[in-house]
Symmetry: C2
Subunit: 248 residues, 2 copies
Amino acid sequence: LFAVQDDLLFTVQQVLVLLHVAKAPLSVGLTRERIVTEALAVIDDEGLGSLSFRSLARRLSVNPTAIVWHVGTYEQLLSAVVSSTFLVRPKHEPTAPWQARVSDIAHSFRSDLHRHPNLAQLVGTQLATNAATEFGVFEDVLSALTDAQVPDESILACFDAFLGALVGFVVLELAQGPKHRTAEWAEAVVRKQAQIDPTLLPHLHKHREQLGGHLSFRTSSGAEAPLDDSFAALIRILITGIEAAARW
Amino acid sequence: LFAVQDDLLFTVQQVLVLLHVAKAPLSVGLTRERIVTEALAVIDDEGLGSLSFRSLARRLSVNPTAIVWHVGTYEQLLSAVVSSTFLVRPKHEPTAPWQARVSDIAHSFRSDLHRHPNLAQLVGTQLATNAATEFGVFEDVLSALTDAQVPDESILACFDAFLGALVGFVVLELAQGPKHRTAEWAEAVVRKQAQIDPTLLPHLHKHREQLGGHLSFRTSSGAEAPLDDSFAALIRILITGIEAAARW
DNA sequence: ACCTGAACACCGTTCAAGT
DNA sequence: ACCTGAACACCGTTCAAGT
């Protein structure tokens, strides 16, 4: 009995906490986790613009300030939501060739973000997630680059290049159109494409039929019209580019 | 005199407008252009978070609703600011090899955005700029890809891949850290890096000394600590990747 | 420890009114 | 045409107070 004294002391503390809770039945059982989950649901269903402490508070039937107590500032809530989405991530066994592993990582990241399109603008702009995300993916990428025989002097530059291109592409792919007057805007975009001058912009004019669905010319987000072929091309380009980096 | 009747009629209208203005000396001479310029100044100096119709109105000594009348909604103001930044862009003469031209485009885009780092989050998330931006750059990219002998079936996929990687990388590079408690956050990031397990994450552990300045591990934005080497690596990777795309 | 409630200093947007 | 002013329906965050 005396041998477990430390454990007992700790238990006494826990009991005191429990009594405290019992004395205060107004505690609604609000958790940081519940808040983050609900916030993600709001972002997915209604968009980032509809998320606020006050709207969250209404859905959770609590006072807005109760949320502040749990998650801190609004900025911290957002980065908590982002990192909660990318927490679980299977570490790849390094049996397959590095090209296949890199391609796997890329496609799985993209489908993760496509599941929460409204999160893209946060991933692109928030540096705050750096402290929270798991390191597994980054180990996998670095392992693949090592297997690709990229020299040590340039391996981290290639690391940045790959991750930046990958994440950046998907973020841009999922960029959103304007909230209001989308119809007029879409018309304006199409009208401007129709006016492409054959002599001034011959190459754009040559491919003008297919241009509509591509970057800087499309009228719908990647959430509705995913750029599958373009992403496949990017991965292919990156892989052959990294293959060449072994001879730098 | 009668031959220029149309012109005269138009002039009469203009005179009426001028009289109208003369009768209303309260018109402060507020222009859409002045508003956009001032908005960009606010974004550059104090960050996007400090920009609002009301703060702009104070700086311009007008009523907030006067701004609404000129630029429309807040969202439209933002996309006006973005497109105003990327309006002037010299068209490259297609004399140099396509690799050099593509590299030029990439570096000039990056230095443009580095001049306005706080604009990056808008470029990454706004699709609305599509209607406003000049088509010159896109023609140049497509021209380069044609010279690279990328087949017609995959040229637009490569177009997306290149632009997405380029713009996406720079947007991520310029991502901002948290506004408050940046010191504690930076400590947390560094502390987590120090705890990298050599057996679980061997590759990260091997390069742990250099990791601090790179994507997903840095504590400062690309505005303060630009990722020059990483960007150079990206361009090199993309170019050799596109070279291979000719044989797809 | 966990939550309420009031208060503060903000927002974008609409709409009627002035000149 | 261009701008003011009031009003509406929102915000995040602080801080004292309750249990």
